[in-house]
């Protein structure tokens, strides 16, 4: 069996996926970003500054935590959690933001734009812009603004301008389109701080590299803790940045199974989910070629997920490549299972997870009872503070007037 290729070709292709599908006006800026990024990889002062920020500002390395009570409750595989939720700003997103803001600084850009779905990337971007004194504009779908109000306020508190996008699905996809329109108009002054392993080259590979520390740390921590690698690594996949960060170090370990979990939403029917490997087909959207949820005329389908961060019609191109080669497999988890997994983690481990991360967790919970003796690693990519309003809506028995009855029943 051939070894899975770890790097894209010079044009950013992972097999037939990735590449650069953008209007000509954006080609030169993309080449500029690529040049700066390649230089930064060879630049010890850049690497030292990034490492210092990751350790002392963001809080790396993050803990590897064995979820013993959850494991016991499920009675099967041993479950370990990579605690990206403990990072500053509450999710893995800060890794990439710190890397890209340093690049922007070296490119002489003073204005940062970003898109955000759940708001975690927006908050992380607003945070690094505050840290470096840069102007920050975040595009966010109006539907996402409504369901992630806390993060909208956090961004504003940090000095960012949040611009609502009120057309299309009013979610992440439309926020990315609007950020691309801003970038093409303001290229001279502006860096587009794209938040997932998506878009035109070099973003997918660059964003992955800023997150590969997740898997590298986890791999070393597993070896140190139990003297072996996990059997399976689970991570949720929206664009796929936390998953590719968690997977990357394990790709050469052929015995380690890699499982990405997409959003099954309300079920696998057109417009009701965001599971690109369930009925998606290769296509081109927002700069890259990859699996895309689309209709027979090549129009991009609307998507749904209870978690804004997974609610996107295309998967990152490296995931498409890992999928086609069989190196990673992709499952999906519906809204209800993700909500139940979140509640179970709250009650067994005292950890409130993000809804996105709960999708990956749910698949581990589903499989654990049938796989005793196995070791599972779940990338807990973010914490659930931002999702409190959604949890409240879905667990009304814990809220308001009904609460005392539940407490009475549980006592």
């Amino acid at each position: 069996m051939s070894v899975t290729k770890l790097e894209p070709d010079a044009q950013g292709h992972f097999g037939p996926y990735g590449g650069r599908y953008v209007p000509e006006t954006l080609m030169a800026p993309l080449e500029d970003v690529e040049r700066a990024w390649r230089q930064s990889r060879e630049d010890p002062s850049f690497q030292a500054e990034l490492r210092d920020l990751l350790e002392n500002f963001a809080g790396r390395p993050t803990a590897l935590y064995e979820a013993k009570r959850l494991t016991k409750a499920l009675g099967g595989a041993r479950i370990f959690l990579k605690r990206e939720d403990l990072l500053h700003t509450g999710a893995h997103k800060i890794n990439n933001c710190l890397g890209q803001v340093l690049l922007a600084q070296r490119m002489g850009k003073r204005r940062i734009i970003a898109e955000t779905g759940a708001g975690q990337h927006g908050v992380a971007t607003a945070t690094v812009c505050a840290l470096f004194g840069m102007e920050c504009v975040v595009y966010m779908g109006e539907e996402d603004m409504a369901r992630q109000r806390l993060n909208v306020f956090r961004m504003r508190l940090l000095g960012a301008r949040v611009v609502g996008v009120g057309y299309g699905s009013k979610t992440l996809k439309d926020a990315i389109s609007e950020a691309m329109r801003d970038w093409v108009t303001n290229i001279a002054t502006t860096h587009y701080l794209l938040g997932s392993a998506l878009g035109a080259h070099p973003y997918p590979v660059m964003v992955r590299d800023f997150h590969r520390c997740i898997g590298e740390e986890a791999r070393a921590q597993m070896l140190e803790r139990i003297g072996r690698l996990p059997d399976t690594v689970f991570a949720c996949v929206g664009g796929g940045s936390n998953a590719i960060g968690a997977f990357h170090a394990f790709i050469p370990d052929a015995q380690v199974e890699l499982v990405g979990i997409e959003a099954g939403g309300r079920g696998i029917r057109p417009g009701e989910h965001a599971a690109r490997f369930q009925g998606g087909a290769p296509g081109v959207l927002q700069g890259a070629r990859s699996y895309l949820l689309q209709d027979g005329d090549g129009q991009v389908l609307l998507t749904h997920s209870v978690s804004a961060g997974l609610d996107y019609a295309m998967v990152g191109p490296e995931h498409a490549w890992l999928h086609d080669q069989g190196r990673a497999s992709y499952a999906y988890c519906e809204d209800g299972a993700a909500l139940r997994a979140a509640l179970q983690l709250c009650r067994t481990e005292g950890i409130i997870p993000a809804l996105e991360s709960s999708h990956g967790l749910a698949e581990a919970i589903r499989r654990a009872p049938g796989e005793p003796g196995k070791v599972f690693l779940v990338n807990l990519s973010g914490r659930g503070d931002k999702d409190i309003d959604i949890y409240r809506a879905h667990f009304p028995e814990l809220d308001g007037a009904a609460r005392s009855a539940t407490e009475g029943g549980a006592a």
Binding site: P23, T25, D174, S177, V284, Q299, V300
Partner: protein
């Protein structure tokens, strides 16, 4: 020579600029398009860009973005754009350039599209989000079917990219007048002149300039520099204002005539 090549050659011999009009196919409705295009032709438009509506038009400003939404709501599809081309071609020799984002074309299949587009009377293709680096596999079937491929040159394109853009283009090269999305603007960008000069040094192909040209004065100014002038959002705005009302064709024809008169004046 292709219909597009012949048009530019004829106009060059006459020492007159080419007026190119963009419309989003299916706006205000698929049925109305043939008469809308006939009106543009009567007004003096020499070449029609037929925009294929797409759900995620990242290179377009609000005017064309909304037109794309209207066209999709009216039921426009790529297959119906080809039907439209057949209907236009039955009555007119005006060159037709398919103007599209990549995904609808990929979904349709380039091999099938190339043959069917040619048979329908389409003369060429411009793919907004296709970089020259990704172009080879898509350009080959189009050229094999006898279609022109038009690529964009931008003010941000360094010299070596301009050469690649010209090498991949046939019929003409489309110069983007400024950084930004499609849409009208008050003044013509200062980057047009230098971009035209830089391309003239690298290609003998005709050059057309678009993005932001919306008045007869801007058209005249642009025509002094380039072989062709593209007007898009200004036409689409008329469609937006008139809708399916009886004033649509007269308004488009009158505006096209004003542009043409301005350009040739």
């Amino acid at each position: 020579m292709s219909r597009i090549g012949e048009l530019f050659a004829r106009k060059r011999a006459e020492k007159k600029p080419v007026l190119i009009g963009y419309v989003t196919a299916g706006d205000p409705s698929p049925e109305r398009m043939p008469s809308l295009i006939a009106a543009l032709e009567r007004g003096g438009v020499d070449l029609i860009e037929l925009g294929v509506p797409f759900s995620d038009p990242v290179a377009d400003g609000p005017v064309i973005m909304k037109a794309s939404e209207r066209a999709r709501a009216a039921g426009m599809t790529l297959a119906r754009v080809l039907e439209l081309a057949r209907a236009v071609r039955a009555k007119s020799e005006i060159p037709l350039l398919l103007f599209s984002y990549m995904n609808p074309l990929i979904r349709y299949g380039f091999d099938q599209l190339a043959g069917e587009a040619k048979a329908a009377g389409i003369d060429g293709c411009l793919m907004t989000d296709l970089s020259v680096e990704e172009a080879a596999e898509f350009v080959a079937p189009l050229r094999a079917a006898g279609l022109d491929t038009v690529f964009l040159a931008a003010p941000t394109s360094p010299p070596e990219r301009l050469r690649k853009v010209a090498d991949h283009s046939s019929g003409f090269v489309y110069l983007v007048s400024r950084t930004g999305v499609t849409g009208e603007q008050a003044r013509l960008s200062a980057s047009v002149g230098p971009l035209v000069e830089a391309l003239r040094e690298r290609t003998a192909l005709p050059l057309a300039v678009g993005f932001g040209i919306s008045t007869p004065e801007q058209a005249r100014e642009t025509a002094r520099l380039a072989d062709g002038v593209v007007v898009g959002s200004a036409f689409v705005r008329i469609v937006e204002a008139q809708g399916a009302g009886p004033g649509l064709e007269p308004a488009l024809e009158a505006f096209a005539r004003a542009l043409k008169t301005g350009m040739e004046g």
